[in-house]
């Protein structure tokens, strides 16, 4: 490490350029990771909040919870080891009742109809006092929605319902849109026009599902929650796209750094040759090259990560940007590991240096 550090200090300009390059690429990788994680979280926050294991849909819904309809009788017949909860699901557009005419307050949301004391109900749900009271994800505040506001929700036939915001929940989004939690009656009134219709969308299960095939009148399908998340429209494509970009950027860093270090090593062949002639072992020289690679990646990564954090602070309100220490750690380890693989070309070059040729003999 001694020689590596000494050379870095002596040739600051040359190495600063490499650090800037690593910084820019690592910034891009950390930034994309934060964005990808934020986006993926906003797709699934509402589902993960359940802390459930399985979800049961109607087979004919073809994985789509929006198209799934189950009868109350089916809910009773499904047996589980653990807890089960009814979920009424429907997309909606809401607007503020008291908004000025020239202000557009329309927002796309998802309605989650739930029963009292259901394990999938957020804590704030218990505080609802009004029959048309709801709790909603706090991200709606950015659109001007406040506690106590009356919101207008329009049915597909043009009828409107009025709900009152009685609380806000955190990190409860579904496919990036806020979730409104309301009673099963309100959900049925909105989705079917009648609170007495004994229909809902899915059964959420904490634990395992038993006799699914035999005990019900229609065909039901049980999904594990991770499998269910993967069926969300666009989710897998989005995660794969980001993962591919991040993976390739890490590989690019490894190659670029490997090439830089290799060229620098080639420039020092005569010096290394003389050192070998003087009896300095190849392993010592190779370690110095490897340390130089690690130091360059380390500084580039630290600056890139700092820039990501600063960007995140400013962008959190306008972009689905989320920090994840575990991902950053994994990416940092991958950066160093791949950069070391790139540095191995230089190690090979060092071991092949013939001191005789390097000395011009």
């Amino acid at each position: 490490m001694y020689l590596a550090w000494k050379e870095l200090k002596q040739s600051k300009g040359k190495f600063a350029l490499i650090i800037v390059l690593v910084t820019l690429i690592s910034y891009l990788v950390y930034f994309l990771t934060s964005l990808a994680y934020g986006l993926a979280s906003s797709y699934t926050n509402g589902i993960n909040k359940w802390q459930a294991d399985n979800i049961i849909l109607n087979y004919d819904a073809n994985d789509n919870v929006m198209m799934s309809y189950l009868a109350d009788a089916e809910y009773d017949r499904v047996e589980v080891d653990g807890q089960k909860a009814k979920l009424g699901f429907f997309p909606a557009i809401i607007s503020l009742d008291n908004a000025p005419a020239d202000v557009d307050t329309r927002e796309a949301i998802y309605v989650f109809g739930i029963e009292d004391n259901s394990f999938i109900a957020p804590d704030q749900f218990a505080d609802i006092t009004l029959s048309n009271g709801v709790v909603i994800d706090e991200s709606i505040k950015d659109a001007g929605y406040k506690l106590g506001d009356t919101i207008i929700i329009t049915r597909t036939n043009g009828d409107t319902l009025e709900w009152v915001i009685e609380g806000f929940t955190t990190k409860t989004t579904y496919q990036t849109a806020p979730i409104i939690y309301t009673s099963m009656d309100n959900y049925r009134l909105y989705a079917f026009g009648n609170a007495a219709v004994p229909v809902f969308s899915a059964i959420v299960v904490k634990g395992s599902v038993n006799n699914l095939a035999n005990a019900t009148s229609s065909i039901l399908v049980s999904y594990t929650i991770p499998d269910f998340i993967n069926t969300l429209p666009g989710y897998t494509a989005q995660v794969l796209t980001f993962s591919l970009m991040i993976g390739f950027l890490i590989l690019i860093v490894a190659f670029v750094l490997g090439i830089f270090i290799y060229v620098l090593t080639l420039q020092k062949i005569n010096m290394f040759g003389v050192m070998k002639a003087q009896g300095i072992a190849s392993s010592y020289i190779a370690k110095s090259v490897i340390w130089q690679t690690i130091i360059l990646v380390f500084f580039g990564m630290i600056i890139g990560l700092a820039l990501t954090i600063v960007s995140g602070i400013f962008l959190a309100a306008v972009a689905p940007f989320a920090f994840n220490v575990l991902f950053y750690f994994g990416i940092s380890v991958a950066f160093i590991a791949f950069a070391l693989i790139g540095g191995l070309f230089s190690v090979r070059a060092v071991t092949k240096i013939d001191p005789l040729k390097a000395m011009g003999a």
Binding site: Q278, G279, L356, A361
Partner: protein, 224 residues
């Protein structure tokens, strides 16, 4: 006088296609404590081949090299590297300094690698004796050619080797500085009881040497 390095019945042949080139014909050589030995000869005569075999950078075709009475040329590359590190000092044409270490750090690199304790009194004595103590914080690019060669001499002697090899140590210097460097090499060789083998094409330097050998077409003969 104790013999520090010996070459016994050494030859070195190279293959050039199907033709065998006898770069070094049957050679016997020795150098002892306090001896400054010059190897002179025209370009391509075999001087560098001789020096690199002596330094363990090439294997002889026949014969052997001994350092401090112990076989050297037959050792493995790893073992030879160790012997070179501990028992041989090198001074090269363009100086053998690492560009990003200052004068003092050049010396102490040996301690860092060997993890031996620094002998500050010895370091100061050496730097003073070659008159570079005042440059100890300077980097090679801040020194003149003569100053760099003086530092290279100090570096070659710092780890207290038995033998010092100097390959054209004055090639990049003007006459005045070249004489000064050889004088210094001689005085340090005597003072520290080393065997110094200097390859040069400059016959004006031989007056400073205890022994002089001439190599022509791979044949070495003693001139002085």
């Amino acid at each position: 006088m104790k013999t520090l390095i010996e070459m016994k019945n050494v030859t070195k042949d190279f293959l050039n296609g199907e033709e065998v080139i006898h770069a070094l014909k049957l050679t016997n050589f020795s150098a002892g404590e306090g001896e400054l030995v010059a190897i002179i000869g025209p370009s391509g005569s075999g001087k560098s081949t001789f020096l690199t075999i002596l330094g363990g950078l090439q294997r002889p075709t026949t014969g052997q090299v001994l350092i401090d009475g112990k076989p050297f040329s037959q050792l493995s590359d790893k073992q030879k590297t160790k012997v070179r590190f501990n028992k041989i000092g090198f001074i090269l044409q363009q100086s053998n300094l690492i560009p990003f270490l200052n004068v003092k750090e050049q010396m102490l690199l040996h301690n860092r690698i060997s993890k031996k304790r620094i002998d500050k009194a010895w370091l100061d004595d050496l730097l003073l004796s070659v008159d570079v103590k005042r440059f100890e914080k300077k980097y090679p690019n801040e020194l003149s050619g003569g100053e760099r060669q003086r530092v290279a001499i100090a570096k070659a002697l710092y780890h207290n080797p038995s033998v010092v090899f100097a390959d054209e140590p004055t090639a990049s210097l003007d006459t005045k500085r070249a004489f000064a460097v050889v004088e210094l090499l001689k005085s340090e060789t005597k003072r520290q009881k080393k065997a110094t083998i200097m390859v040069t094409h400059d016959e004006r330097l031989v007056d400073y040497c205890d022994k002089v050998y001439v190599i022509v077409d791979g044949v070495m003969t003693q001139k002085k």
